[in-house]
């Protein structure tokens, strides 16, 4: 983990009163969340609650109709997705989203592009500086793959690997950029029990060094790795707090079950049904 030492200052992402409408539907309604360095924030909620929309706003794929975002003390006005990695923000996607015709190593190298110093022109004529960049990117990518126990598959194509391994590669591709804020969109989707334990370890490790936001259906994972949890329902934040408080919050249980709940077990049962979905 030496390659991702703390950059010194703690950073904070603040989402304030963000509203997003698609046609007549309020996907997000005055949503405010915060996450800081050294913290893992879980975002949960029933399907369609606006979790992925929230990520899309932070990544600049969706422009909010109202509200502000600030990161590292600066207000982010118009976020352009390609600027994210240089802002220190990385995101993984639902599923894996790997480039199918590129090797694992190449996939991860794409994630490290913002370390490149040479411009397009010199890359085209393969100037020495560009050449050095190339080796540097490759080394970074290999180091990150090694951290996630994927060094042995660097030359494989993603399609030839088990799903769980592909997800690890996707995580490596996000981490290679050395982000200070990592957005994980359903990292546990499609994983088995052993792989979940591994993922939990990875998130805990990353979460000590940078800020992490996790959208996840898998309640056990959320409850064990997150320092705080925000619950969205119909685009609104209906609860926020530490995992234990969220687990027993009647509003949360109601959002998941649609009625008065009988106890904490009920939530786990509801999520068990949800988690099987990829």
């Amino acid at each position: 983990m030496e390659s991702r030492e703390l950059p010194g200052a703690a950073h904070r992402l603040s989402v304030e009163d963000v509203t997003v409408s698609f046609g007549g539907i309020r996907a997000l309604d005055r949503v405010s969340v915060e996450v800081s360095t050294g913290e893992v924030l879980g975002v949960i909620g029933p399907n369609g609650a606006g979790k992925t929309t929230l990520f899309n706003v932070i990544c600049g794929f969706v422009a909010p109709d109202a509200g502000t975002l600030s990161w590292r003390g600066k207000t982010l006005h118009r976020i352009r997705p390609h600027r994210l990695s240089s802002l220190g923000i990385a995101r993984t996607l639902q599923g894996v989203g790997l480039f199918g015709r590129m090797t694992v190593l190449e996939n991860v190298m794409v994630g490290a592009q913002h370390f490149r110093r040479a411009g397009i022109a010199s890359a085209m004529v393969a100037l020495p500086r560009s050449d050095k960049d190339e080796r540097d990117l490759r080394d970074r990518a290999l180091a990150t793959l090694a951290e996630l126990d994927c060094a042995g598959i660097a030359d494989r194509l993603p399609g030839t690997l088990p799903f769980a391994v592909q997800k690890r590669v996707a995580l490596a591709r996000a981490l290679v950029a050395e982000p200070e804020l990592l957005l994980l969109d359903e990292p546990a989707g499609g994983l088995g029990a052993d792989e979940l334990t591994e993922l939990r370890g990875v998130i805990e490790r990353i979460g000590r060094e940078i800020a992490v936001m996790v959208v996840e259906h898998h309640m056990d994972l959320v409850m064990s790795v997150c320092d705080r949890v925000v619950v969205l329902d119909f685009g609104r934040v209906i609860a926020a707090g530490d995992p234990a408080a969220i687990k027993s919050d009647p509003r949360v249980l109601e959002a998941y079950l649609g009625r008065e709940a009988e106890g904490p077990e009920a939530l786990t049962a509801a999520e068990a049904g949800n988690a099987g979905r990829p």
Partner: protein
């Protein structure tokens, strides 16, 4: 037997040209999923620019470089100014835009340089090699053509495979949104793709100009050949485009030599139809990935 060798050699030379044009089409298809019907007109313009530069007293090499540079600029400007506006529109819009560009470029060339075909200098001698008393249809200039196209193909392959620019271009072509999220400037990659394509086209134009003469419409058959070659190769694969170009060049050369040159356009279209019927994804395309 001599005839067969002759036809094979000239097929390879023609095929190299088709390969270069096919490469141009494939580069653009990969980058922006657009078939560039203006490719023939674009390479006609850059060849005219080379013609003008050489006519002004510059050497062949300078003329060649002028074609390359003007291709680079023309490709980049076309993407930036025209194509960028229709990239998210239905595919037909882009088709109409490239057809419109074709018409404009042909008209502009006619206005500037007139419609009478002009002769264009060749880099090397157009007299065939003599082997054991017989003169082959293959000339030193054909050798030059084949070598240049091989160099272009290998150069492009190396760029896509080994440089971070190539990596980003592949990422941008495969999944633009994901690439953008990872910090790739997708729009810029599209511009570079068009610029490189126009350079490949410009090279093809200068190479083939001595044998077809230079006029506003003289490259249309070359574009058709390039298109068939690109489809043969699967539209998506640069190596496929090169192999497709060579196969087409050989096939058309045999048709022309054994059956008569009048059948060549028909044969090209027949090959296109056959490939589309039997293997629509092209002969060399890998397992088909559909965009969702």
């Amino acid at each position: 037997m001599t005839k067969f060798i002759d036809l094979t050699l000239s097929g390879i030379s023609d095929g190299a040209i088709y390969a270069a044009v096919a490469l141009a089409l494939v580069l653009i298809w990969r980058a922006t999923r657009i078939v560039n019907f203006a490719q023939g007109a674009m390479l006609m313009i850059t060849t005219f620019i080379a013609y003008a530069v050489i006519g002004a007293g510059a050497s062949y090499v300078v003329g060649f470089l002028a074609a390359l540079l003007s291709g680079l600029a023309l490709g980049a400007v076309t993407e930036r100014v025209l194509i960028r506006r229709v990239e998210h529109a239905p595919p037909l819009n882009a088709v109409i835009v490239t057809l419109g560009l074709y018409t404009v470029l042909v008209a502009v060339a006619g206005m500037i340089w007139g419609n009478t075909p002009k002769s264009f200098p060749a880099a090397f001698s157009l007299r065939g090699y003599t082997v054991g008393g017989t003169t082959l249809l293959f000339t030193p200039n054909d050798t030059f053509i084949v070598l240049v196209v091989i160099a272009v193909a290998l150069g492009l392959a190396a760029m896509f495979r080994f440089t971070s620019l190539g990596l980003q271009m592949r990422a941008a072509a495969f999944a633009p949104e994901v690439a953008r999220l990872l910090g790739v400037r997708v729009g810029r990659m599209f511009t570079v793709g068009w610029a490189l394509a126009a350079v490949a086209g410009a090279i093809a134009g200068v190479l083939v100009a001595p044998s077809v003469f230079l006029g506003p419409n003289s490259f249309d058959p070359i574009l058709i050949g390039g298109f068939v070659a690109a489809v043969l190769g699967g539209l998506d694969s640069p190596p496929g485009a090169v192999i497709g170009g060579l196969l087409l060049g050989l096939a058309l050369s045999y048709v022309s030599g054994y059956e008569g040159s009048a059948l060549v356009p028909l044969a090209a279209l027949a090959i296109l139809v056959l490939v589309l019927m039997i293997r629509p994804s092209g002969l060399f395309s890998a397992a088909q990935e559909r965009r969702v």
